[in-house]
Symmetry: C2
Subunit: 607 residues, 2 copies
């Protein structure tokens, strides 16, 4: 199978040429260290680690999976050694404060790291990825003692953390959670309950595992207002910081999953485990939501990774495999057949994957710049960026994971029957990708968050108006007033973009009006609204990439003109072949909710 290659050229193009990370970092309180040289070195080293250390474990990890024997979980061969290298390289605390042993670099560098490592081997990258959730919770809500005891060990990577939310009867709807935390006389709690779907819930990569667990106090209010958060280490921690007694956190079983088999997904039984409350009583869900956006962007990266890896694999195959002749005549007459790359329909599938990967990457990096402001402690910067990040987050998570699944689908399809065979590695990408639209809130939850909360409740469409205004500003800036090639070639992009912004606002208004009479439209429209929004945001990303590329081409003299010319051609492909899908979503979303709701539940089944 194809081995992952870090897309360094595209990454550099985005962070230096399109998004100008340099200037952004120079204004961040914690951006001083992130000079261009440092950033380039980190990106390259991250690429090397991804290619050489974890990509080779991608297929073997899937074959082997995780095993639970005698209550102990073992990860696939090589995973622990790779993790040790990861720790030695100082990667776990890349974006965490120096006072806890981190490198104190901006969050956005952590996102680039997560993207590369996740693309090379998503199941492996989930272990350190999930640990970030526990780290962030303790950093933001833990008391000094908790930070001293747990945070430094997590930041160094010596221990890992998890988030334990879901229970057998409730996933999204955490208000139904039943796990109970009984207060003890010494100020600790005894927790009893079962948590499921706990990623990295048990494993052999670190000596201890720090669980952040959502549970109820006895007599707590029903629903989400009665939920508190607790730290529960797998092994209690001695006064000297070493691991002590086993804390009655038992791995009941590991799930048998469609994919990400090398990631341990545990059923955890807390059988009277000693627990320490973190954050205020009954405010557990609010504490969790403080970093929900960054967690969801982390999941959105899986969509980009699926698309990138599928693109790399299927492109290598299409450049090699021969089948049939091009419809416009033999392209390689001396060969027994033309290579797949000469077939228009194969190119359609390849380019679809590529525009998802490269357009999605910029969507994530754009959001990462906003996220950089969320952890600096600057409240003004926080407030300025929180709304926009909150608006973009469900679009990224919902749209990019759906698109990632689609890309993985095309990647298999390019291989024909071989795509279905494990040894080629393409079906694994599709299986691994498939979780991304399900966890961290399904696509439905993202759509509801976007349309119901962020767009309608949050300012009656203001989020769309604000983001649309940014896009229109871009359009004005690149409007063809002179006759330069750059301006001429930008025209179709800005014309279409401006038209879509108007349409987006108009549809938002229509839904607002309709919702006054029938709230059901929020449920019946949110999937189409999410996808429509995604296509528009990605169009904006491609127009911006095209603008930078066209300017470079206009200036001339660059020895990588082919790269820029290709970027423009990819933007054309996106606008001409992918963007038309917005029409279907726009048409469907304004249909009356009764098409969904009028069928009575008895009539869903006739025998």
């Amino acid at each position: 199978m194809h081995q992952y290659k870090a897309p360094l050229r595209d990454t550099r193009f985005l962070i230096h040429e399109v998004l100008d990370f340099d200037t952004h970092y120079s204004k961040l309180p914690n951006g001083g260290e992130a000079t261009r040289d440092v950033v380039d070195a980190i990106v390259e080293e991250c690429g090397r680690f991804s290619e050489e250390v974890i990509s080779p474990l991608y297929q073997s990890g899937d074959e082997e999976g995780c095993k639970l024997e005698d209550g102990k979980v073992t990860t696939p061969k090589g995973f622990k050694e790779a993790y040790n290298q990861f720790v030695e390289g100082g990667w776990p605390g890349l974006s965490h404060p120096e006072e806890f042993g981190g490198q104190g670099l901006p969050l956005s560098l952590g996102i680039i790291k997560a993207e590369m490592m996740g693309t090379a081997n998503w199941a492996w990258a989930m272990y350190p990825g999930l640990s970030l959730g526990a780290m962030n919770t303790i950093m933001l809500h833990g008391n000094d003692e908790q930070k001293a005891t747990y945070l430094s060990k997590l930041v160094s990577g010596e221990w890992m953390g998890t988030m334990c939310l879901t229970e057998p009867h409730c996933g999204t709807d955490l208000g139904q959670a039943r796990t109970i935390a009984e207060p003890q006389e010494n100020g600790t709690y005894k927790v009893n309950g079962t948590k499921i779907f706990i990623s990295s819930g048990d494993h052999d990569l670190t000596e201890n595992i720090v669980h952040v667990v959502l549970a109820r106090l006895p007599g707590a209010p029903k629903g989400t207002r009665g939920i508190s958060l607790f730290i529960i280490p797998k092994y209690k921690v001695n006064a000297d910081g070493s691991c002590g007694d086993f804390n009655n956190v038992n791995c009941g079983s590991l799930e048998h999953k469609m994919g990400i088999k090398a990631s341990s997904t545990a059923v955890l039984n807390f059988d009277g485990a000693e627990a320490y409350m973190i954050g205020p009583e009954n405010k557990g869900l609010e504490c969790m939501f403080t970093f929900m956006n960054t967690a969801r962007i982390g999941t959105a990266l899986q969509g980009i990774g699926s698309a990138e890896l599928a693109y790399q694999g299927s492109t290598a195959y299409a450049l090699d495999r021969r089948s049939m002749r091009s419809v416009s005549g033999k392209k390689e007459p001396d060969e027994v057949a033309d290579r797949l790359i000469h077939h228009g329909d194969v190119r359609r599938m390849l380019l679809t994957q590529r525009v998802i990967a490269e357009g999605g990457r910029m969507m994530a990096y754009q959001a990462a710049l906003l996220a950089d402001h969320m952890v600096t402690g600057d409240e003004k910067a926080w407030a300025e960026n929180d709304d926009k990040l909150g608006f973009l987050t469900p679009i990224l998570k919902g749209f990019l994971t759906e698109m990632g699944c689609e890309a993985a689908y095309h990647g298999m399809q390019v291989f024909g029957g071989h795509g279905y065979i494990k040894e080629w590695g393409m079906e694994q990408i599709a299986r691994d990708a498939r979780i991304s639209t399900l966890y961290e809130g399904t696509t439905g939850i993202q759509g509801l968050d976007l349309l119901g909360r962020k767009v309608l409740l949050g300012g009656r469409g203001k989020a769309v108006r604000d983001y649309g205004a940014e896009i229109l500003g871009f359009c004005r800036q690149h409007n063809p007033v002179s006759g330069s090639a750059y301006k001429r070639e930008m025209r179709p992009f800005v014309t279409e973009l401006a038209r879509l912004v108007v349409k987006w606002n108009w549809m938002t208004g229509r839904i607002l009006l309709a919702a006054r009479k029938d709230r059901e439209i929020v449920a019946s429209a949110h999937n189409d609204f999410l996808m429509f929004s995604g296509y528009v945001v990605m169009a904006y990303m491609w127009a911006r990439q095209a603008a930078v590329a066209l300017k470079k081409l206009d200036k001339g003299g660059d020895d990588t003109a082919e790269f820029y010319r290709t970027k423009v051609q990819l933007a054309e492909f996106y606008f001409e072949r992918i963007l038309p899908r917005q029409n279907a979503h726009a048409e469907s979303m304004l249909k009356k909710p009764s098409t969904l709701m009028q069928i009575s539940e008895e009539n869903f089944v006739f025998e």
Copy 2:
């Protein structure tokens, strides 16, 4: 996990009320036996067999898979016993002539059988399904001795057959095949070569396996004109019809696949196997194409089956699982949360699966009626139906398998995280479904066949004009001239359908014109053309179902009014929520091919 229930009500609705199989069978030379009572009894018994015998083996078959040990392949536990019951029930030869021991019933009944059994357990159903290919080849092209030796044993189910086409370096492009058949002095041939992806290539269900193998004679013309067909039994057949010596057909390995794991997919090495030519020298591919259409309809059934099974499973879950509250207020205030069925977005996913299953089923049955004429020996009937069947076949195979994968995707999605876990059975449906767009010609091949061969070459758009004329005839027949409720409710369907037929013809004309200047448009447009055509054909199916249902409702007095009302509501859902997708395909297909072709192959990878 959910157990399959045969959709008897829908099947009866389609065959009796919408498509009037009775009248159709009464005009068929081999339709006399297929009275309404007989048909109903067969459908019911087939449903019972599917539900009780093979559905219970669905999940266990996937877990166990096929095994190759010491050169012998074993199928999962229970497969052989189920097959024996299948043979005892007389199912293998349901639609094959009585002179060879079959039941002589119309082909369309075999398609209903294949759909039900395939939905209950596709991997199991592939064994007898693939055998049909060998049976049809021998029936149509074998000499009397070959028929006497092999056909009766295949029809009875005592032996099974395969089709051996693909080689490691060529799948679709069979002209590249290298397997060699050396003529021997006794009139037989010695075959050497390797075939891959041979479904049912080796197994323990029957004593002997009859391979139909595509190979070249020494010195045969290059490409597809030098291909002949051969019968190669796994064991040579003695004069008394019993199995004799092993014939050097060795199973080299079994493929490790994403799904359909209970179906044995073999690498077969023919190591000097004794072979008997079937059909004329160098005309092997033409012999194969005589039943390509029916084979491809057989694969299209997998799309319907995936949608039906996913719909059944996810509906059962949505009617049971509680999560969150409806956006329009609590629907079950006394419960901890509302059931999923109350959420509009969940209904969108459920209904999408259902309209694919029930609309697709009618597409297949409609084609089955045409196929009935292909095997009766009536040349006039053959000629009349061949063009239309040839036009519909790539639409069925291409569109319905793509839609089946989409449906399986939604089925998982309704389950949230549980959809990703094996025990619930939903991810298996998605894995199994995924092969359907790859084998028997990928979706790309279907699109090329449809647009390139059937539409453009075959009469410059005549196929679209003819089928469009049929639809317009339907629209005229159901045009609102009176004020009856039936007519009023039909109006939106016929209006939209008529508009789409005009659009379909117009686009076909545009592509015809564009192809004069640039043949590439055939490659760049065929996927969109295929999908557009599929959406229109399915719309026609739903309008026809709605018309029948509305008439019944208009007449009143029926005790299954709920069934008919639901059919109308499903048609509305399809027209309002699914059909708008045709816009995206229509817009994209007319874009210039250069958006796909202008990127030079070197620019597919930058490092």
